[in-house]
């Protein structure tokens, strides 16, 4: 035994031990990637560097340096962590892969898409729904109205068309609703949630603390759902008669039937959330009063229900409506009828919703007037197409200059042609009027859908909330809104945006509120998570996808046009089980199979590495070798530590894998760079078990 001092503590260790052995056996963690206890030290990754007093070299590899009596070792210093960080950055600079599937990365809420699709493929629907709900408590809603950033990012775009992720989500969510057999039950006003099992379990941790949530839209629903899951008592206050926010009062029935929304809200209430409707902030309560009433945190999710006026002459006459008001009235079941011609001004989803709703209300002709071209329309492409399909006309590059009124009632609208100028600083080409191109469209109704903002007037007195441009609430990284204990998310923060953004914000706020209530708030940890990505679709090496067989995306069964226009029946009918399974099978299962065991990722997070320091440098691209049924080989993720080579040769005596080439071009390949199946590999899996990254993985772990 010899005496060594590691990080100022003295230890007696076996004299044959290396510094790494000595440290680890005494509970001191030194990171390493190339070392495997079954093998002799190799010393290639250099992650395990430490400082040794009196040594000629300022950093020595601890995996290969034997202890000496009286040795003084430092395992943590700036020099060491800088070297380790750079080491990881270098390894990651030539690491071509997706830690997370791009769909999950693209989802604001980080829904684990690949996992639930795989469960659908395997007929495990209940588990699939649970996976979705871990990050999104409104799967049936989102399965209908989501703008699907996941599908834009889907790598399957490089083969044929994206996987119908949203349809699949709706499929399982609908399945669950069917299973529960709860059709028809509405989320009751003032319904009291039952305390679930989870609440009891977590009660101790939360001490039954109360959280108030203002507004019952997707942000609050999501926030409350997750807080309730943690054991907090959550009460949502809603100004309108029913819960749902814009989901109810902005999205028309034909896209999101109210009974689906009701059921989904009911399910959140069952989770332990109470909703009090017809209770408005600024009228019935204030943040101060909530605090006085024993709420220890307040979440503001009031959405963006205010709307901009057209800002042209006569924009206040009868027959000029705002899309927000129009759609809200629909949600309030008011009796509205439209006749004649309707012009909807704007290019967003609200414009389309207003237009399609108008058509269903009996308008003779509905047109959308938009000042840019189709390409620039912010609305969802599917929605744009569906509207056209239903017979709505578009007037692109057209802007209203004046409402023509007669007897204080709309008679027409004067428009001007626009042309697109040079791109501005945001890259968008701004429209410029073409002089003398004015023309008149005869219409009976004009619906303005040109922008929304939060109605922050309810925060009448100074309650310490930070407000920003467009009347939005400013929050920090951890969704805190400026006043201690007050958080916000959703449209109230972002301005009019998507349901999934609101859900994601609500969930994030729930995490922050939990931390706050436990006195552990640390907004630093909310910085972006470390994830390697192959890049956007145009950055990805397309050759990887060349061999994949094309298979068309399933078509969503839809209501016939004539049927649609008769009323407000849901247009999209949902996938059949057979189609869902077929579609689930189209998933390419992107993302790394080793994400949970990957040591490179773990250390990357621990050392806070940057992924773009060496951007632009050469990154190797290799073909993935799935020839062996037991071992999946993805050389793009190999860090050349040689553990596999040494295990296969030295322990197994097989030598199916070997180092090839040298320098930066060094790779680890099966003999003669053939597929693994063409070697003497006996599929023992020892290489995969030792691999510190996802370069070699046991195929049975592969979804």
């Amino acid at each position: 035994m010899v005496r060594v001092i590691i990080d100022k503590h003295e230890y007696m260790v076996d004299e044959s031990a290396t510094i790494l052995d000595a440290a680890r056996s005494n509970g001191i963690d030194i990171p390493t990637l190339c070392h495997d206890e079954q093998l002799e030290p190799f010393g290639s990754c250099w992650l395990c560097v430490v400082e040794v007093e009196g040594e000629r070299r300022s950093l020595v590899p601890s995996c290969a340096t034997k202890v000496r009596d009286g040795m003084v070792v430092t395992t943590k210093s700036e020099l060491i962590s800088n070297a380790r960080k750079l080491c990881l950055e270098l390894l990651l600079s030539d690491h071509y892969g997706d830690c997370l599937p791009p769909c999950q990365m693209a989802c604001p809420a980080g829904v684990r898409v690949r996992e639930y699709i795989d469960l659908i493929r395997k007929d495990r629907y209940q588990e699939a729904v649970e996976v979705v709900k871990q990050n999104n408590p409104l799967p049936a809603v989102c399965g209908r109205v989501c703008v699907r950033p996941c599908e834009l990012a889907c790598r399957r775009n490089l083969v044929d068309e994206p996987v119908a992720i949203d349809f699949l989500k709706r499929f399982v969510a609908d399945w669950e609703m069917g299973e529960k057999g709860q059709r028809g039950q509405r989320g009751q006003k003032g319904q009291k949630g039952q305390k679930g099992q989870k609440t009891e379990d977590r009660g101790q941790r939360t001490d039954g603390k109360k959280v108030a949530l203002v507004g019952a839209g997707p942000a609050s629903l999501s926030c409350a759902y997750y807080l309730a899951g943690m054991g907090y008592r959550c009460i949502i206050f809603e100004a309108l008669p029913d819960a749902g926010g814009m989901l109810r009062y902005g999205i028309p029935e034909y896209r999101l039937p109210k009974d689906v929304l009701d059921k989904e809200i009911a399910s959140i209430c069952e989770h332990g959330v109470e909703i009090r409707c017809n209770t408005a902030m600024g009228r019935d309560f204030s943040i101060d009063s909530l605090m006085n009433d024993g709420f220890e945190a307040v979440f503001i999710g009031i959405g963006a229900h205010g709307s901009y006026r057209l800002g042209v002459d006569n924009d206040g006459v009868d027959g000029v409506l705002s899309a927000v008001d129009f759609l809200r009235d629909m949600g309030l079941n008011k009796d509205i009828r439209l006749k004649g011609r309707v012009a909807v001004i704007g290019g967003g989803n609200s414009a389309i919703d207003a237009a399609r709703t108008s058509l269903r209300l009996g308008a003779d002709e509905v047109m959308i007037v938009y000042r840019r071209s189709r390409l620039e329309m912010p609305a969802n492409e599917i929605e744009i197409n569906e509207a056209e399909h239903e017979g709505i006309n578009y007037h692109f590059l057209t802007a209203p200059v004046r409402v023509i009124a007669e007897n204080n009632r709309v008679k027409g609208i004067e428009c001007i042609r626009m042309e697109l100028g040079e791109p501005d600083s945001s890259g968008r080409r701004s429209p410029l009027p073409v002089n003398g191109s004015e023309f008149i469209i005869d219409v009976e109704t004009v619906i303005a859908a040109i922008g929304q903002f939060p109605e922050i007037e309810c925060l009448t007195f100074d309650e310490g909330i930070h407000l920003g441009r467009g009347k939005t609430i400013i929050v920090d990284n951890g969704m805190a809104a400026g006043r201690v204990g007050v958080f916000a998310a959703g449209d109230a923060v972002s301005g009019a945006s998507t349901a999934i953004e609101a859900i994601a914000g609500g969930k994030k706020a729930a995490m922050a509120i939990d931390q706050y209530l436990r006195g552990e708030l640390d907004s630093k940890q909310w910085s972006k998570e470390f994830n390697v990505s192959k890049g956007s679709l145009d950055e990805v090496d397309g050759s990887e996808f060349e061999g994949i067989e094309k298979q068309a995306r399933v078509k969503m069964p839809e209501l016939e046009i004539t049927e649609r226009l008769k009323g407000f029946n849901e247009v999209e009918l949902g996938l059949s089980q057979a189609d869902a399974i077929l579609e689930a099978d189209r998933c390419l299962k992107c993302g790394c199979n080793a994400i949970d065991k990957c040591e490179l990722r773990r250390y990357g997070i621990e050392y806070g590495v940057g992924l773009d320091r060496f951007k632009g440098g050469k990154v190797h691209h290799y073909l993935i070798d799935n020839s062996n049924p037991a071992i999946l080989r993805d050389p793009n993720k190999c860090i050349r530590c040689g553990r596999c080579v040494r295990i296969c040769l030295e322990i197994k005596g097989i030598g199916a894998l070997g180092f090839v080439n040298r320098g930066f071009e060094t790779t680890i390949e099966p003999t003669f760079c053939k597929p693994l199946s063409a070697t003497e590999c006996d599929s023992c899996g020892k290489c995969a078990a030792s691999c510190p990254t996802g370069a070699l993985v046991d195929s049975s772990e592969h979804l």
């Binding site: 040769l649 070997g658 180092f659 080439n661 040298r662 003669f672 070697t679």
Partner: protein, 159 residues
């Protein structure tokens, strides 16, 4: 030249080389060198025979062969041109000499072989003839103090 693996003459020579080194440690590299002298390059077949003959794993043979720049895995031209790109040659315009060489050989880039299998052009690190920079070695002959004009002159000796 093509693969001459089936050539029984060469096969016998490979056997002879292998028997010379069988059971001796450290024989792999000399065997690879000699086999390359016989065949001009190392085919997979030849490497497998070497692995077999020396009782070394094929992956190890391939790993060693791909480590050293001397070994080639595709047929080479009749004459191997080694354009020196050592420090002295670099500062004396080796880049231009190699470019002219490429031009004169019908666009042959370093690392490649002419279609008629006459020349293989390689860039090498240093031939140790620095005082004569820039230098080119064709087979075993060194040509020094080159300039662009002399490139064709020395190539003509081998055409």
């Amino acid at each position: 030249m093509g693969c001459r693996c089936s050539d029984s003459f060469n096969r016998n020579r490979l056997s002879a080389i292998l028997s010379e080194y069988q059971g001796k440690s450290g024989g792999l590299i000399p065997v690879l060198q000699k086999a390359q002298n016989v065949y001009g390059y190392l085919s997979e077949d030849v490497m497998l025979k070497i692995a077999d003959g020396l009782e070394i794993k094929p992956s190890v043979v391939y790993g060693v062969a791909t480590f050293y720049t001397q070994f080639r895995f595709s047929p080479v031209g009749e004459h191997i041109i080694r354009a020196c790109h050592g420090t002295a040659c670099h500062v004396s315009g080796a880049e231009n000499i190699t470019r002219v060489m490429t031009d004169k050989l019908g666009g042959l880039e370093p690392g490649g072989t002419t279609a008629d299998m006459k020349f293989t052009l390689d860039k090498v690190a240093c031939l140790g003839c620095c005082s004569l920079a820039p230098v080119v070695m064709i087979d075993n002959d060194v040509y020094g103090r080159l300039n662009e004009a002399r490139v064709e002159e020395i190539l003509a000796l081998y055409r």
